[in-house]
């Protein structure tokens, strides 16, 4: 195992499991540990199961009752890549704006479907915003409740047709997802019952 450096109580790369004072068990690979602040950073498998993504957990060891080192890493930790700070700052800003706009929509009484649609459109077209309960896409297309493809209105053109396609696909996906989840549910039920 890589001997912890001075002041290091966890070697980077080792796997650790700990139990917080709130009864939450956390496990992951040590990414960083700061002795002074007792902050431990773990890298875990992503909760979404998406590849190339990780969950990062920052743990305050002051509130951890037990720490177990599952295994140590023998390899030296990889060098740190330089970060594009401006990119990170932009992400922070856009995330914040998204959340604020989402909160705005929710407070406006938009239905869950509407919010969901908005999120979907926003993935494709950044230029969309809430106008009361209507979704404004590129200041050109207005989607009003109940947010179906027929509710998309605006100047006839590629923009409108494009938005319609997105909306249609969105509901198709939602529908298929529902069916899938239902199927899974039924499977579980059947397995349980059996």
């Amino acid at each position: 195992m890589a001997a912890p450096g001075p002041g290091e109580y966890f070697s980077v790369g080792s796997h650790v499991s700990c139990l917080t004072c709130l009864g939450q068990r956390l496990q992951g690979e040590v990414v960083a540990f700061d002795y002074q602040s007792k902050m431990l950073t773990l890298k875990c498998d992503p909760s979404s199961r998406k590849p190339n993504l990780h969950d990062v957990i920052l743990i305050n060891l002051a509130y951890v009752s037990e720490v177990d080192i599952i295994n140590d890493r023998t390899e030296t930790p990889p060098p740190l890549a330089s970060l594009n700070v401006s990119k990170l700052a932009n992400r922070a800003r856009s995330e914040k704006e998204d959340k604020l706009s989402q909160a705005y929509a929710i407070s406006a009484g938009v239905s869950a479907e509407g919010q969901h649609l908005f999120q979907t459109i926003h993935k494709t077209i950044k230029d969309c915003k809430w106008q009361e309960k209507n979704i404004m896409v590129m200041d050109d297309v207005v989607i009003s409740p109940p947010y179906q493809a027929d509710n998309c209105k605006g100047k006839e053109g590629s923009a409108l047709s494009h938005v319609r396609k997105i909306v249609e696909k969105h509901f198709r996906d939602v529908e298929s997802q529902k069916q899938r989840s239902q199927a899974q549910q039924t499977q579980k039920d059947s397995s349980l019952s059996s």
């Binding site: 602040s37 979404s48 990780h54 305050n60 992400r91």
Partner: protein, 1060 residues
């Protein structure tokens, strides 16, 4: 929040940088701090979490992601991770409290703009679905690209592509690309390919039997011997620095500046360029490079070609081209100085070779000095010959280096001049030390010089010389410079042994400077360069009695040079003025050299020298030259070295005056170079307890160790420099006081130096900043202590020196001589005095405002300036004490300020006004005294009359600056003290070191300030004789006080406070 956020922003930035560099993160941070020149940034030391590189990296890479933060109470907050503090406090933007019950509960009123969570409250923070590659800068590496491919490609390893072996065509080409190190296809492959693919058979015979006889290889002893011999020769050739340098040239390692902005060179140069532009197969490059490379070297180096030194210089140049550019801005001085030194040094002394670029400069000076000293001591005649020889041999090499350097260094011609001066200065200083002048050294100037180290002092002398010459120089820079030089030389002759060495060095330097000038003047053709080179020898012959012998040597070396020399002779003898004008730098230089040599030689030489000076000066300079010589002779013993130094500056200065309009940048550059050299010397002196007798040996010793010390300080300087820029707007920044002071000065200085800059005060500052950063790197290179000093000087010098040299040289020359002498000898005396009487006397002398630091300093400066003048003109006895204090200041001032004053008093005024606006109040207080001072000086020194009036105005600004920053004052004083100390006291050395370390910033400031000081001195020179005595006394005490402060930085601060 804001605070934290700000901190967070910084941290991420630093983290990113450090992460990229890995272990070197810390260094990078430091470097940034310096570069940024922001005090805060530099002060921001990574602490807490920020010191944990990996933690910083991880936390920074999750910035902007949504997270759930759980606090002690079990409440969960959801928000966008914004930033974190060193204590690991976390900031969430758009956060809301997450209630387990309602999934859609997010409402606008629940959102909080941002929440700061104390680390002690945080239990767990969960960042979901983080993409670690999001912000990676190396997005295009194999790993990064492979890791981001859509789908499940993560586990797929990259494997080399075999390119489809089945397809011969493809595989063949691909393989060749991968494995073929040669340039393109191997001929046999091409033949094979053609034959296989198209059925074409080549009749090519690799033995070329049709054209030549194939080498028959056998195992016979003879063949083996020959083969071994050939291999040996090849090895020798390839191992030679010349070969390498040429190869380097071939490979386009020259700087962009050299390639695109350099002055057009001679035919040889062009030839090389043409070749470079053509594509040359790798196999042929070496050969061709050899051939044309040699040609190149010859043209520029001429003399060098014969001697080893030139080669090193070339190498240095080519490899360090990048560095040079940087240097140009900040460290230009250093580079130039090395070159000049090299050139001069190489032939005579091996040491230079050891230390290529920057180190060389110092070493060369040392070597040159030692030889010169012996000669000087032995007999006047020998001495003269020595210099002349050096000149001839060294001159050419210098020329080449200069040319090369000049282009690279932005045409640092000024710098080159400065370096010589610097060397001289240092030399002079030691020699002078024994003499009474010590008092001057004690003056504030000393402090600056100490920090800047020798460079400033050297400059100052030069500047002084320049100042003396100024009257004459205006028409012809070269001539003007020569005159001053001559005068100094005469003075030096009296100086005796120490002076003689100095003289020699100076002569060399002068040559260098001339060379540079010539190059500048006629960059277009190599021929011009050659002429300059030749000219020096020729001049030396006619002018110096001993030199003729030297001239022959030169002739032998270069026929062309001979021709040129002949021409020069004719010119000098017949009508120096026109020729000089045309030749500009060269003729003047020669004259200056001759004159110098003569003085060095002793009385006999002096006579010739004077004539030489007269010839050269003719139109403008004759009067001044005559005047100068007289004072110089009087001062001679002490001044000799100084005079030499000054002479060099003067030359440059004269040239600059004329050229300023045309070649301001060049001049400036030159000046910068010189400053560096000076700086180095001073340091050397400091270490040496008894420099006077044997300046050269001590310098080398001292330089190495000091240099190291200095380097650190230099860095500091750079930072400080940055501050100054910032400060100009806000003169009053307590924390930054010293820096601010410097800054203020800097701007002024810069403005004054370069006319173009005048309109835009800010510009100079910016440049200075740039220079600093650049300089730091350069500093690094020098590893040796001296470079550091040089760098700092370079910064200030660049702007300052350039113009200063021109201007200062005119009026300052005389002053310097006298001052320098005083400084060294008085040092001890002055120190004692300094300790006791310090500030009190000053205030009274200068003006009403005694209490204020700035005033004191101003007074000090003023007094110093006058003091030197008095010495020179009136009575040597009186002068010594005053001179001691003034000398330091004057030297410093001369170095930096001297140049400024000389170049464009008007500019200075403007600059001062510009920068002083905030300081205007100060001015008002100070103004009264300075003006009075200035008037006096003018009358006294005819040469200085011009400058004096202007100088007076300048003085005010300078004073103002000083006043503004108490610390500066202190620094100045300290610097002066340090300078003095080096020569006489070991203790001082310690002080200097301390200064350097702690006071690096001050020194930088001082440098900028020096110019001002210089101005003051110059002004004083003119008229203040009466005032001088008083001033002189006062200055000394001040310096003494400063010295103490220097010992410990805290102490220094205390002093300032007290004064305040």
């Amino acid at each position: 929040m804001s605070m934290k956020q700000a901190g967070g922003n910084r941290k991420p930035g630093s983290g990113a940088g450090s992460s990229g560099a890995g272990g070197s993160g810390g260094r990078q941070n430091l470097g940034r701090g310096r570069l940024s020149v922001k005090g805060p940034s530099a002060a921001v030391v990574c602490n807490g979490v920020y010191a944990n590189m990996r933690m910083v990296h991880v936390l920074t890479s999750v910035v902007g992601t949504n997270c759930e933060l759980k606090v002690k109470s079990g409440i969960v907050y959801d928000g966008v991770f914004k930033t974190y503090s060193p204590e690991c406090d976390l900031v969430l933007d758009a956060a809301h409290r997450k209630s387990p019950g309602s999934s859609v509960g997010l409402r606008q009123e629940d959102l909080v703009e941002s929440i700061i969570f104390k680390a002690s409250d945080v239990v767990v923070v969960h960042f979901r679905d983080v993409d670690f590659n999001f912000a990676r800068k190396d997005n295009f590496t194999d790993t990064a690209v492979g890791g981001r491919i859509n789908g499940e490609h993560k586990e797929k390893d990259l494997e080399p592509w075999d390119g489809g072996r089945q397809q011969h065509v493809v595989s063949g080409s691909l393989e060749s690309l991968d494995t073929d190190v040669s340039n393109g296809w191997d001929p046999s492959d091409m033949f094979k390919y053609n034959e296989e693919q198209y059925g074409i058979k080549s009749t090519y015979d690799s033995s070329l039997s049709t054209y030549t006889v194939a080498l028959e290889r056998d195992n016979s002893e003879e063949f083996l011997k020959r083969e071994a011999r050939a291999a040996q020769l090849a090895e020798e050739i390839e191992a030679s620095s010349t070969y390498k340098s040429r190869v380097a040239l071939e490979n386009e390692e020259r700087s962009e500046e050299e390639k695109y902005t350099a002055v057009v060179r001679g035919e040889r140069e062009q030839h090389t360029l043409n070749r470079e532009n053509k594509y040359i197969p790798p196999g042929q490059r070496n050969r061709e490079g050899m051939s044309w490379g040699a040609g190149r070297q010859n043209s520029p180096r001429l003399a060098q070609s014969s001697s080893g030194p030139p080669r090193p210089g070339l190498h240095d140049y080519s490899p360090s081209s990048g560095a040079d550019q940087r240097v140009v801005n900040g460290g230009a001085t250093s580079c130039p100085s090395p070159s000049s030194r090299y050139q001069s040094g190489p032939s005579p002394l091996p040491p230079r070779a050891a230390t290529p670029t920057r180190p060389p400069s110092r070493p060369p000076s040392r070597p040159s000095r030692p030889p010169s000293h012996p000669s000087a001591h032995g007999s006047s005649a020998p001495i003269s010959t020595m210099p002349s020889r050096r000149m001839s041999s060294e001159g050419p090499p210098r020329m080449s280096p200069k040319t090369q350097r000049t282009p690279r260094t932005h045409r640092v011609p000024p710098g080159s001049r400065v370096p010589p001066g610097g060397d001289f200065m240092s030399h002079n200083a030691p020699g002078e030390v024994p003499v009474p002048p010590a008092t001057r050294s004690s003056s504030s100037g000393g402090t600056w010089s100490s920090v800047v180290s020798g460079a400033h002092r050297p400059r100052s002398p030069r500047q002084n010389s320049m100042g003396g010459a100024s009257p004459g120089p205006s028409p012809q820079t070269g001539s003007a410079s020569v005159e001053p030089v001559t005068t100094p030389m005469s003075a030096s002759s009296p100086a005796a042994a120490s002076p003689a060495p100095n003289m020699a060095a100076t002569s060399v330097e002068v040559k260098d400077s001339r060379i540079q000038e010539t190059r500048h003047n006629s960059p277009t053709a190599n021929k011009e360069n050659v002429k300059p080179l030749e000219s020096p020898p020729s001049i030396s012959r006619p002018l110096s009695k001993g030199p003729p012998s030297m001239a022959p040597d030169h002739r032998k070396q270069i026929d062309n040079l001979k021709k040129f020399s002949v021409d020069f002779r004719l010119q000098s003898s017949s009508n120096p003025d026109p020729q000089f004008q045309q030749m500009m730098t060269k003729p003047p230089r020669d004259a200056g050299e001759k004159s110098k040599e003569l003085p060095l030689d002793k009385g006999s030489e002096e006579g010739p020298v004077v004539p030489a000076g007269g010839n050269k000066p003719d139109s403008p300079g004759t009067p001044s030259s005559t005047l100068c010589p007289a004072p110089e002779q009087n001062r001679g013993p002490d001044v000799t070295s100084q005079g030499v130094q000054t002479s060099a500056p003067t030359f440059s200065g004269g040239a600059k005056l004329e050229d300023k309009e045309e070649d301001d940048p060049d001049q400036i550059r030159k000046s910068t170079l010189n400053p560096n050299a000076h700086e180095f010397k001073p340091r050397v002196y400091t270490p040496q307890p008894k420099p006077a007798t044997t300046p050269t040996p001590p310098r080398p010793q001292g330089q190495p160790s000091p240099s190291i010390m200095v380097q650190q300080p230099q860095q500091v300087y750079s930072q400080t420099v940055c501050f100054p820029q910032m400060y100009p707007l806000t003169p009053v920044s307590p924390g930054v006081q010293s820096p601010a002071m410097y800054h203020v000065q800097m701007p002024h200085m810069t403005v004054s130096q370069s006319k173009p800059y005048r309109p835009v005060p800010n510009m100079p500052q910016q440049r200075s900043d740039q220079h600093h950063p650049q300089g730091t790197p350069t500093m690094m290179h020098p590893a040796a202590g001296p470079p550091i000093v040089a760098q700092s000087p370079a910064y200030s010098a660049q702007y300052f020196t350039c113009s200063p040299q021109q201007f200062t040289s005119q009026q300052l020359m005389p002053h310097y001589q006298s001052q320098a002498q005083h400084v060294f000898s008085p040092v001890i005396q002055g120190q004692t005095r300094m300790m006791a009487p310090p500030t009190h006397g000053h205030p009274g002398q200068l003006v009403s405002s005694t209490t204020q630091y700035g005033e004191q300093t101003h007074t000090m400066y003023v007094s110093q300036g006058p003091m030197p003048q008095q010495y020179a003109h009136p009575n040597a006895t009186l002068h010594p004490q005053p001179s001691a204090t003034p000398t330091g200041q004057s030297q410093q001032g001369v170095q930096h300020s001297g140049n400024h004053p000389a170049p464009s008093p008007v500019q200075q005024h403007q600059a001062l006004h510009m920068g002083n606006q905030p300081q205007q109040q100060m001015y008002q207080a100070l103004a009264p005294t300075p003006p009075s001072m200035t008037p006096g000086p003018n009358p006294q020194s005819p040469q200085g009359s011009f400058p004096s009036a202007q100088q007076a105005v300048y003085l005010h600004p300078q004073q103002m600056q000083h006043g503004y920053n108490p610390s500066h004052m202190a620094h100045m004083q300290q610097v002066s003290s340090t300078f003095r100390s080096p020569s006489l006291h070991p203790e001082y050395i310690l002080y200097e070191q301390a200064h350097i370390q702690s006071g690096m910033v001050p020194s930088h400031h001082g440098n900028p300030g020096h110019p001002q000081m210089m101005l003051m001195a110059t002004q004083q020179q003119g008229g203040p004789q009466p005032q001088l005595p008083q001033n002189a006394l006062n200055p000394i005490p001040v310096s003494s006080t400063t010295h103490f402060s220097y010992l410990a930085h805290p102490q220094v601060q205390q002093h300032h406070q007290q004064q305040l």
